[in-house]
């Protein structure tokens, strides 16, 4: 084990060539008869070794689809993937199934939202962990079991040997998620994508899991992509944050920056809708009007316009003549808005689970 | 109860439970409404519906449609053992062993066959639902009692059940219907009980109960209407099996003793004797049975899918 991790550390130290580069990634779902839906629309970002980025947005904004596209896990039929995804410079879009399977689990791994449904109910934890090791590290049964026990121990599952023989339904929610993480880290991947890893868990467990992830990543120089709608998670974990809406990135910023000065009204809205302790009691929360369903196609204008308070006529293409572009917005920031917020609607940073410690 | 049967149950109950999720305000109807909206876009459903409707119309207007009297042994004198006059003017599909117009018999046959199917299914559904209500509404020992009984019925294979019953009731078409009906009872009982349980715990029901509304009223004003859609689905599917089972029973000689009365199953059975030189006499009624059964099945399946998002794909 130690060897694997030290290897991770070395790459982390060796220069900052990005582990993952996503350029103009677009995913389009087409169904027979119906007009296709653009789930991801020209998304670009990159992650460096040891770096943790967050993809933030309401459910349905395309963040999960983005991650699946990166992993090449989208169903073959009825999906068009465009743009480019490079892992250590290797192009993944359009890469063959074999190639992808070689990479998946070995160089890039993923942790999913619901640990129960993400584990095969009829196969023991042991098998589900060891199968990765056998697949990618060509271990035989005995080695694999040893290693698996080690992994479980590492992710903080007590009495790992016994657990190996158990079935998912016999484990607690937190344990399951730990098991999943163990599997994803089995080959100390260069890239780890965590899709809402804590949403299905109790608050206390959430904190532990986030902590675990943080340690593991920091320990190894693995690049981590956090996909979440929970700003608390972001605050606790991420270096950079990409806020997505209706399939596009609408704002990118370094974490503290974002919380300090959200520029996009949507980001602002998100922050404002988080309950806080430091506002006087009785102050109503200011949620965003409507829901993600109310978005309009980007072609017609800013998808958020219908829900936007500071929205104006030129948010619409027919008025402005062009669609809203993603532009630099100060150091390390990008923004897709014609009428950004002047200042932060609120001061300080949110206090929620996993808030920055 | 064992899981295999249990499995059958769960499927039914699941269907039922979904009806239970419907918003309380008489949602059952609205669900079926939306279901029909979906159905109109489903080609399978349309095919099924067309088949069913066509045959129902044929049955309804048989006297107008049939070119001749299905009992008239018009060409009997031309029949010889081993040779039956073929299709000819006025006899588009030819005649049977007794010189009767096959087309007319098929047309009139639809009446008998569909009637048997419908009556036995309705009978089975009504009795089954009654049991289901009993179990679902009152629960406790009533529930246990009814459900055990139903389980026992389920534990006797359908055809055996039908056979024993028609042996018991002697050979006549009513016995036939009852026999088939009984085999239908358990499904409907479970179905209704399932949805009743789902309903009983639904907030609406609890609320009304809290308001002191009588249980019976909840059942009849709220639960029953909501359980309707799954019952419709099951009913449609059961119709298919009922018609096939009826054919099987009359093949076993447990059908209507007045065999001159046209009925597909009986026609099919009696045609076996001339299969070697006039297979059409078997094939025509068989096709009718197959198509109608298929029609009801298609309709039922697409209904189910329409009513039940889980099934949709």
């Amino acid at each position: 084990m130690s060897t694997a991790f030290s290897a991770g550390i070395r790459t982390a130290l060796a220069g900052q060539a990005p582990v993952l580069e996503v350029e103009e990634l677009s995913v389009r779902f087409t169904r027979r008869g119906e007009a296709g839906t653009q789930a991801v629309d020209g998304v670009s970002f990159s992650v460096a070794p040891g770096e943790t980025i967050g993809l933030v947005g309401e459910s349905g904004c395309g963040k999960s689809v983005t991650s699946l596209a990166v992993m090449g896990l989208l169903p073959g039929r009825g999906v068009q993937v465009g743009g480019s995804v490079r892992l250590d410079g290797q192009e993944l879009v359009g890469a063959g199934d074999r190639t992808l399977r070689k990479l998946r689990g070995a160089d890039m791994a993923m942790v999913f939202q619901d640990p129960l449904s993400s584990l095969n109910p009829t196969v023991t934890i042991g098998v589900q962990v060891t199968e990765v090791l056998r697949q990618h590290r060509g271990m035989n049964g005995k080695e694999a079991t040893e290693e698996a026990a080690d992994l479980l121990d590492r992710v903080g599952i007590p009495d790992p040997r016994r657990r190996l023989g158990e079935y998912p339904h016999q484990l607690s929610g937190g344990m399951r998620q730990r098991a999943l993480i163990a599997m994803s880290l089995a080959c100390s991947p260069r890239l780890l994508i965590a899709d809402e890893p804590t949403t299905a868990l109790d608050v206390t467990i959430q904190a532990q899991i986030l902590e675990l992830l943080r340690e593991l990543v920091q320990g190894s120089g693995t690049a981590l992509v956090m996909i979440t709608h929970d700003l608390g998670v972001v605050a606790g974990l991420c270096d950079r944050v990409h806020v997505m809406y209706a399939g596009k990135i609408i704002e990118t910023a370094e974490r503290r920056d974002l919380f300090a000065r959200p520029r996009h009204p949507y980001t602002g809205g998100l922050l404002a809708s988080v309950p806080r302790l430091d506002t006087p009691r009785g102050t109503a929360l200011t949620p965003i009007r409507g829901s993600a369903r109310d978005a309009i196609p980007w072609a017609q204008g800013c998808a958020f316009a219908p829900r936007c308070d500071s929205g104006q006529d030129d948010c619409l293409t027919e008025v402005a003549g062009t669609t809203v572009p993603l532009e630099d917005d100060g150091p390390g920031r990008e923004l897709r808005c014609r009428h950004p917020l002047a200042t932060a609607p609120v001061a300080g940073s949110p206090t929620t689970s996993g808030a920055d410690r | 109860m064992t899981a295999a049967l249990g499995h059958r149950r769960e499927k039914i109950d699941a269907l039922a439970a979904r009806a239970g999720q419907v918003p309380a305000d008489g949602g059952g109807v609205s669900l079926t409404k939306s279901a029909f909206r979906r159905l109109r876009r489903d080609p399978v459903a349309i095919i099924g519906a067309v088949i069913v409707v066509v045959f129902l119309l044929v049955a309804a207007f048989a006297p107008l449609l049939a070119p001749r009297d299905p009992l008239e042994q018009a060409l009997l004198s031309q029949v010889r053992q081993g040779s039956i006059p073929g299709a000819q003017d006025g006899f588009p599909l030819g005649v049977d062993q007794l010189g009767r117009d096959v087309l007319s018999r098929l047309i009139y046959g639809s009446r008998q066959s569909l009637m048997i199917g419908v009556i036995s299914t309705v009978l089975g559904a009504v009795v089954g639902m009654a049991l289901g209500v009993l179990a679902g509404a009152f629960g406790g020992w009533a529930d246990t009692l009814v459900m055990r009984f139903v389980d026992i019925l389920l534990s006797i294979p359908g055809l055996l059940m039908a056979i024993s019953i028609s042996v018991l009731l002697g050979q006549n078409q009513y016995a036939l219907m009852i026999a088939i009906a009984v085999t239908q009872v358990p499904v409907f009982a479970r179905l209704l009980r399932g949805s009743m349980l789902a309903q009983r715990d639904s907030d609406y029901a609890l609320a009304t109960k809290a308001l002191g509304v009588k249980r019976s009223r909840i059942v009849f004003t709220h639960v029953l209407p909501n359980s309707l859609s799954p019952v419709i689905v099951q009913g449609t599917l059961s119709l298919a099996t009922a018609i096939i089972e009826a054919a099987a029973l009359s093949f076993l000689g447990l059908g209507d003793p007045d065999i001159s009365r046209p009925e597909w199953g009986a026609m099919l059975a009696s045609a076996q004797a001339v299969l070697s030189f006039r297979p059409q006499l078997a094939i025509y009624p068989a096709l009718c049975i197959i198509v109608v059964a298929l029609g009801f099945t298609l309709l039922g399946e697409s209904l189910r899918e329409a009513l039940d998002p889980k099934f949709r794909r």
Binding site: S118 | T2, A3, F251, G265
Partner: protein
């Protein structure tokens, strides 16, 4: 696991009791009551008296029932009014045939049904899918006996490729040890006999297999469609496992759970007498025996067979249930 089985066994008891009550009631409700049923309509009052006395039909109903139950437990269902032989003997003689037929039919149904169902699901929406769906619907809509007659007409009579009736060519005097003819052939090394018996299973087997086949295709398809969309399959793929591994360990293994139940259920149904098919193919099994019993109004046979078969059906379901427990760890602990 043991506790699980025991509990299931206990749950059987009320069902079996209920069954016996039902059949007891059935027998009493027969035209002319049990004596008449057993002795036939020409039975003289003396006969009836003798019978009633022998079977204690003059005693209170509950006593009668208990006696009936006692006899049933001793597998004593009286004698056939046609052959005058013990019902149990008749049954044991007929049952092996039905078992062989059922096994063959289920092999056909499973062997074709699961692959087709799987393929249909994986190629969801393709022509394979739609044809298999239509096919499975048709399979259920065709009256079995019609299918059987057509199969015989074409393959046995017109083409003469396969035997169209019986369990074995009567000209071949094969030695019969177990009455499972194929097995006998193998045991006695009479390969030709075994082969002949096997060939005799083909047509009835196919006819009998269609309905299970249709159902298995549908269930397999549905459950594979369910499973491939499960998160754990995505996980497996995310782990970069080989296609084969994913298919074997994560898709098929789980998809087959509901299918196994269906298979058990269908097997139970087929075992309970393929009355129609066996009749058409003059196949010496339980089903044709029932058919004969119907036309001879041989009530003792009917009652005895139906009781045995129903019990067997319940037991088969129990087995299915246990195997389900073995396959799905979640059931076990519950």
């Amino acid at each position: 696991m043991l506790r699980f089985i025991v509990r299931r066994l206990l749950q059987l008891i009320p069902i079996l009791l209920g069954l016996s009550v039902l059949l007891f009631a059935w027998l009493r409700a027969l035209p002319g009551g049990p004596a008449q049923a057993a002795l036939g309509e020409r039975a003289t009052p003396e006969d009836i008296a003798r019978y009633n006395d022998a079977f204690g039909l003059d005693q209170p109903i509950i006593v009668q029932y208990l006696k009936f139950l006692g006899r049933a437990l001793r597998l004593d269902f009286g004698t056939s009014s046609r052959t005058g032989r013990a019902v149990t003997t008749e049954f044991l003689e007929r049952f092996p045939g039905t078992v062989e037929l059922t096994v063959f039919a289920m092999i056909v149904a499973i062997g074709i049904g699961i692959p087709v169902g799987y393929l249909a699901a994986r190629r969801h929406g393709s022509w394979i899918d739609s044809t298999s769906v239509i096919g499975s619907l048709l399979g259920v809509a065709i009256p079995v006996f019609f299918l059987a007659y057509m199969l015989r007409l074409v393959f046995a009579v017109d083409l003469g490729w396969l035997p169209g009736s019986g369990r074995q060519d009567v000209r071949m005097d094969a030695t019969h040890v177990t009455n499972f003819y194929v097995l006998d052939g193998l045991l006695t090394r009479e390969w030709d006999a075994a082969w002949d018996a096997l060939v005799h299973l083909v047509l009835p087997g196919i006819a009998l297999g269609t309905i299970p086949l249709a159902i298995i295709v549908r269930i397999t398809r549905a459950s594979v469609l369910d499973v491939v969309n499960e998160d754990y399959v995505r996980t497996a793929n995310a782990k970069g496992l080989a296609n084969a591994t994913v298919r074997r360990r994560h898709i098929i293994r789980n998809a087959l759970l509901p299918v196994s139940t269906t298979i058990g259920l269908q097997t139970g149904l087929l075992l309970s007498g393929a009355v129609l098919t066996e009749t058409v193919f003059a196949f010496g099994g339980v089903g044709s025996a029932l058919r004969e019993a119907i036309s001879n109004r041989d009530y003792s046979i009917l009652q005895g067979f139906i009781l045995i078969l129903a019990v067997m059906y319940v037991l088969v379901n129990l087995l299915v249930d246990i195997s389900y427990g073995l396959l799905d760890p979640r059931v076990r602990v519950r």
